[in-house]
Amino acid sequence: MGDTPDSHLARPAPEPIPDPGLEPHEPRPTDVDEKAEKRAERQVASLFGLSMVFAVLFCVCYFALKVGNHPTTWLGMGASNVALGVCFGLALLCIGIGAIQWARKLMGDQEIVEYRHTAASSEEDRVEAVSSLMKGVAESGIARRPLIRNSLLGATAMLGLPAIVLLRDLGPLPGNDLSTTVWKKGIRVVQDVDGAPIKPEDMVVGQLVNGEPALFFENDAEGEPLYEGVRLQQAKAKAAVIIVRMQPDDITPLPDRKNWGVEGILCYSKICTHVGCPISLWEQQTHHLLCPCHQSTFDLANNGKVVFGPAARPLPQLPITVDSEGYLIASEGFQEPVGPSFWERG
């Protein structure tokens, strides 16, 4: 091996520590003692047997323990889930431990040495591989027949077209939906869940109300709900608001937002401008609204400004006023898209 092309390089220094070689093999108790061997055999078999027991127990628990409206309980937990999980887990574990015990105590454990092969194939194999490849190229005539080659390439490329067309089934394009909500002038702001309208005098300083537009609780002329099903969920996902009341002196509205509130009552979108989580963790003393997903924090006394976290835009504010009956209504719709940023919004 001394005549390799690299022989002009300095020879590597000899190993500073001599190869100690393998220690002499020492037998295990199970190799020399027949009793120990029998004992290990019984242990392995018992573990496999135990696994069978747990598998059967699993089936017994499946039928014996009640699920549904009145489940069997142990220590305040659903017995069926706990028992099924524990039985199946132990059944697997016993097979695993048994197999390991088998390998450790009984299977051969002579230390062996296996040297690595060189990575490359032999020179003859490589020459043969290349020559058969070239033969194939010549026989197919792919270089000589550009018509076939190019039409094959075209056919393969065109297979991508159906895949792209199928993307259409992901649904209609959103159009203007991302930029608009159902809020517009005159819609009452009502409490979520029961749809109760809100009078300013019913709210005290420090109060938070989770609100929705009254449309979601109204029926059309035929007595059917105006919004229901998927349409309701889609509209609700953008229209949810929170209404808070603060000391009017604490609020510092922008010049064009001076009449957006009623006696310290302000209304903001409930959808975080980061990735759209619903937020209503409002600290009434600091006026901060915290998003539980990524800790974006908005100052509701200061026009929804971002004071912490990854959100890039202030929380959109809904201008509100009171109607002739004294209930809170939107005086306009949202002035900007609610929720997270999106491509077309820039």
């Binding site: 020492e26 037998p27 295990r28 108790p29 190799d31 020399v32 003692d33 489940p71 309980t73 305040g76 937990m77 659903g78 889930n81 706990v82 999980g85 390991i100 450790r104 454990d109 409490q191 979520d192 869940v193 029961d194 109760a196 809100i198 009078k199 005098e201 019913d202 709210m203 005290v204 300083v205 420090g206 109060q207 938070l208 109300v209 989770n210 808070v244 619903p278 937020i279 209503s280 963790l281 409002w282 600290e283 009434q284 003393q285 600091t286 901060h288 915290l290 539980p292 800790q295 924090t297 912490f308």
Partner: protein, 283 residues
């Protein structure tokens, strides 16, 4: 006798510079003062008294236990930076006092971002007197009566209570009412095991960072439904097994990674130990 006296005083005198001397003297002083106070302090009146007497008693208690932060007339004290040291109490109402003192949050053990729940420092009569005094300063929500926060509700009301809870409460208090974190070391406490009255009062008065849910919007009936839902979910079994505190990925992730660690350790242990024998196999 003289010898004995001299020996004691001599011994004490010799030990007066010991590093234990000061703490021992302090401890003795405290024990004597405390013992004397317990023995000589006027017994608490157990009989119900009229309003004026209750308010007067409440004011006396207030001046001792609360005035250092809230001011002698509960007008509040500001810090030099203009923040609340102790807020003004006119108009907070009896319900706020009953909640804050009844759950041990007030008096605070030390200033901090949040008053912590602890065993109440006052008994029921004293809390009533304090509440009467604070209520006399200005109108505010009064302590709810038992029929407002407890009693049977229909299944439909229970379901609506759950909807109110998920809409208004879970953002801070977690879907299983296990509590959650807020900025700056504050947190929303767990609602499990909190008495129905205190939950009602907390919604009504908005203690600390919690927003108010006034009766004008979230009606007493709504509040009762929420409380009934909470109480009924406390008795529900954990159908899925160990809930791990119901705080979601934090405890679940920790449990999973610890489990993986234990399994890795077990695998290493298996591979590391194999007993060997000096005996040779008999041919």
């Amino acid at each position: 006798m003289r010898l004995l006296t001299r020996r004691i005083s001599g011994g004490l005198s010799a030990k007066r510079r010991s590093r234990f001397a000061a703490p021992v003297v302090l401890l003795l002083g405290l024990l004597i003062t405390g013992g004397a106070y317990a023995a000589l302090a006027p017994a608490n009146a157990n009989t119900k008294t009229d309003d004026a007497t209750t308010i007067a008693k409440g004011r006396a208690l207030f001046l001792v236990g609360c005035a250092s932060c809230h001011g002698k007339n509960a007008e509040g004290i500001l810090t030099v930076r203009g923040k609340n040291y102790g807020p003004a109490l006119a108009g907070v109402g009896a319900a706020a006092v009953d909640f804050q003192v009844g759950t041990g949050r007030m008096p605070m053990a030390q200033p901090g971002v949040q008053a912590l729940q602890k065993p109440p420092a006052y008994n029921a009569d004293e809390i009533e007197a304090l509440a009467a005094y604070v209520a006399s300063l200005g109108t505010g929500p009064s302590i709810p009566s038992a029929d407002q926060y407890s009693g049977k509700v229909s299944n439909q009301e229970l379901v609506e209570g759950g909807e109110f809870f998920r809409t208004n409460c879970t953002a801070c208090h977690n879907f299983a009412a296990a509590g959650g974190a807020l900025p700056g070391g504050k947190f929303a406490p767990s609602l499990v095991g909190v008495s129905a009255k205190h939950i009602y009062e907390a919604m009504l008065t908005g203690p600390q960072q919690m927003p108010v849910f006034s009766n004008g919007v979230l009606t007493p009936q709504d509040k009762k439904e929420i409380i009934s839902y909470l109480k009924s979910s406390e008795t529900e079994p954990n159908y899925g097994g160990f809930a791990l505190g119901s705080i979601g990925p934090v405890s679940e992730g920790m449990f999973a990674w610890l489990g993986v660690g234990v399994l890795v350790g077990f695998a290493v242990w298996i591979a590391a130990h194999t007993s060997r024998s000096k005996k040779k196999k008999e041919a």
